[in-house]
């Protein structure tokens, strides 16, 4: 499947999740796994829109969603400010209500829901790749 290009706006998250679900469903992922893949893709795209393209209204997000053997591979590319999920601190999930931090939760969910999350940045942009094996 070729790259899909989306304006980096929250309004397109529905379509991003739909694309991921289509590929996953066609390739025999369970409905539970499809929900997880949609959530991970949404969190990744939301971070790009919110952080990489902070203050930029005409950014573009490229997504490809393919199979590599039994694994689905979701790749997102952007040309915004590098935002490396690996540098986001893990939230304290045991903290009580008053001390609970919401920052970092999206990245935490991506890591938990996917098998691998990798991030590369270069002059040609930022590339986030996430994979998950079909059970």
């Amino acid at each position: 499947m070729p790259d899909h290009t989306f304006p980096a706006k929250f309004e397109f998250l529905d379509e991003i999740r739909e694309q991921v679900a289509n590929v996953a469903r066609t390739n025999g992922f369970s409905e539970k796994a499809i929900y997880s893949l949609q959530l991970a893709a949404d969190e990744a795209a939301s971070n790009i829109i919110e952080h990489a393209y902070e203050g930029i209204s005409d950014g573009t997000l490229f997504m490809s969603c393919t199979m590599n053997g039994d694994s689905i591979v979701i790749t997102m590319r952007d040309h915004g400010t590098p935002f490396n999920p690996a540098e986001v601190r893990e939230p304290n999930l045991k903290a009580d209500l008053s001390e609970r931090q919401i920052g970092g939760l999206g990245v935490y969910l991506m890591r938990k829901l996917m098998d691998t999350v990798t991030y590369k940045t270069s002059n040609s942009g930022n590339v986030l790749t996430m994979t998950k094996k079909r059970e």
Partner: protein, 111 residues
């Protein structure tokens, strides 16, 4: 996303349908804030027709729970949480921050 609020004597029953993501979470937050602005801090959120919720929705839930529980004036409880959403809330460590109920009558009666 569609939000319907039903006022009871002791609490508000707020039904949330559809999808809560970064695009719709501001509208979700606003509905909860409006209840607070009206002096309503005991909120039961009926989620049986909620199809999807990302961390943007979780963030709104957390803010609402903090605001409602302040001064012991109330609480946000969750009713009929769909399995997928419950699993994501568990993963985020959120289930211990919210009481959950299997039916709205019991939830409303709990206040």
């Amino acid at each position: 996303m569609e939000i319907t609020t039903q006022e009871f004597k002791h609490c508000d029953l707020i039904s949330v349908k559809g999808r809560v993501d970064s695009a719709t979470a501001p509208q979700f937050s606003k509905a909860l804030e409006t209840a607070n602005d009206n002096g309503r801090f005991k909120l039961a959120l009926e989620l049986s027709e909620l199809e999807y919720m990302s961390s943007a929705g979780f963030r709104a839930l957390l803010a609402a729970q903090r605001n409602c529980k302040r001064y012991n004036r109330g609480e946000v409880v969750l009713v009929r949480v769909p399995d997928r959403i419950r699993e994501a809330l568990e993963l985020a460590g959120f289930t211990e921050l919210f009481k959950t109920f299997d039916d709205s009558v019991t939830a409303v009666g709990s206040f």
